[in-house]
């Protein structure tokens, strides 16, 4: 019960921070980090894939509502939620597939792979849905790359900040 409450709180805080601060960073004019992806990174996935996909949809939709972007973030979040088991299997190996709270005890390189893969997939989907046109593929890749680096850095900083007390 306590962990459910924690997840709901994380949902609200991340959406709030995203739509009030991080949507308006506009670094170099157009680069914004999407830190709400952290929710998808940290969601404890045991045997509740449907719950995860639905909450990812709601997460994306709330960001969409605040930034008037139709269904871009909802689509990208649902996509990442669906492929997350594959990503975590790839980064942590089969044994750690059902990892739970001990996220910060996993070694750094595995965590980096995991977060990078999630952010890269998410951002690629976001910018693909935003441009909605294959002829802009180079621009899409450029935006994904620049904004992705920004998001990965911030997500790492946030996980470091909130990790120490769990030890």
């Amino acid at each position: 019960m306590n962990s459910t409450l924690k997840i709901i709180l994380r949902f609200i805080v991340l959406v709030f921070l995203q739509v009030t601060i991080f949507n308006y960073v506009n670094f170099l004019g157009y680069i914004n980090p999407y830190i709400y992806v952290l929710f998808l990174v940290l969601f404890p996935l045991r045997n509740n894939k449907s719950v995860f996909i639905i909450s990812a949809f709601l997460l994306g939709l709330s960001v969409d509502m605040f930034s008037d972007t139709g269904g871009i973030h909802a689509g990208a979040s649902v996509f990442v939620a669906y492929i997350r088991p594959i990503i975590s299997k790839f980064s942590f190996g089969t044994l750690n597939e059902m990892y739970s709270v001990k996220f910060n005890s996993v070694e750094f390189s595995k965590r980096l792979t995991y977060i990078t893969l999630i952010v890269a997939n998410h951002h690629l989907m976001v910018y693909f849905l935003e441009f909605f046109n294959f002829s802009h593929i180079l621009t899409i890749l450029k935006y994904t790359f620049l904004s992705g680096i920004f998001s990965i850095t911030l997500i790492f900083l946030i996980t470091f900040l909130f990790s120490s007390k769990n030890k």
Partner: protein, 273 residues
């Protein structure tokens, strides 16, 4: 039958994903098309309320700059009033009692976007202030956008910097018509196409609205020509127009309602049949 049911149960995550992804795609397609009364928009009490709170904090940081802008606008309007030669037979007390075809409502931008492909703004006036779809939004210096969805207190505005928005414009000096569109490259530059080759275009020419669309009144300034070339077919100019407005720092805007619009639309639709 049993097997089909089992199949669905086994693959239920996949079907859930497919369903939610399809819903997102529908919303995304709505986002990429002009005026399709979006189901998910920021003109509701929750996001409107949050943005009004953040705006009430953020607005303090730009107070001096905004005051200066408003003062400049006032001085420009005052010089117009003092220098006008013809006298009116009666004084116009304010815009709301003025009996013209355009009704002007002041509004404040709560949310300003300029880094996306289809930028949407949020203003603090809605249905309670008799704002609805397709009203013009302008600032002191030029056009800002067109209203889209309205709730009772808030409205979303499709910015000029929205790839779906097309605005009819003309060269101020020669009245040649064209269409303003945005290519999502820079928040200060828009494209003006369909200006015929015979038009005398020069760098620095002023572009204004044409008044042909029943949304924007005539002769609202848009920007100046910074670059032009002939398009591939060789019949039309393709102009780069630098907006007078700084779309990245908007605060006070005006919403313009054309009271004759219903009549114009009726007439136009009647002619089409």
């Amino acid at each position: 039958m049993q097997q089909i049911v089992n199949f669905f149960i086994r693959k239920k995550t996949f079907f859930l994903f497919l369903l939610l992804f399809a819903i997102s795609l529908v919303f995304t397609i709505q986002y990429h098309s002009y005026h399709r009364s979006r189901f998910v928009n920021s003109a509701n009490f929750l996001s409107g309320g949050i943005f009004s709170t953040t705006n009430s904090i953020n607005s303090y940081f730009g107070l001096k700059e905004q005051n200066l802008k408003l003062q400049q606008e006032n001085s420009r309007l005052k010089s117009l009033v003092y220098n006008q030669t013809q006298t009116h037979d009666s004084a116009i007390i304010d815009t709301t009692s003025y009996n013209g075809i355009y009704k002007v409502t002041p509004a404040i931008i709560y949310k300003n976007d300029y880094s996306k492909n289809n930028n949407v703004l949020l203003i603090n006036k809605g249905k309670n202030d008799s704002i609805s779809q397709d009203y013009a939004v302008v600032s002191d210096l030029g056009i800002v956008g067109i209203t889209d969805n309205s709730s009772s207190k808030f409205s979303t505005v499709l910015s000029v910097l929205n790839t779906n928005v097309l605005i009819s414009a003309k060269l101020k000096k020669s009245n040649h018509f064209g269409t303003i569109s945005w290519d999502a490259k820079s928040p200060s530059l828009v494209n003006l196409t369909e200006i015929p080759k015979v038009a005398p275009v020069k760098l620095g020419d002023t572009i204004v609205t044409s008044g042909r669309s029943a949304i924007f009144p005539k002769n609202i300034s848009i920007g100046e020509v910074v670059d032009f070339n002939i398009d591939k077919a060789g019949n039309f100019y393709k102009l780069k127009v630098k907006l007078f407005n700084d779309m990245t720092s908007l605060n006070h805007v005006y919403v313009i309602e054309n009271k004759d619009k219903a009549a114009i639309m009726e007439l136009l639709n009647g002619n089409n049949e």
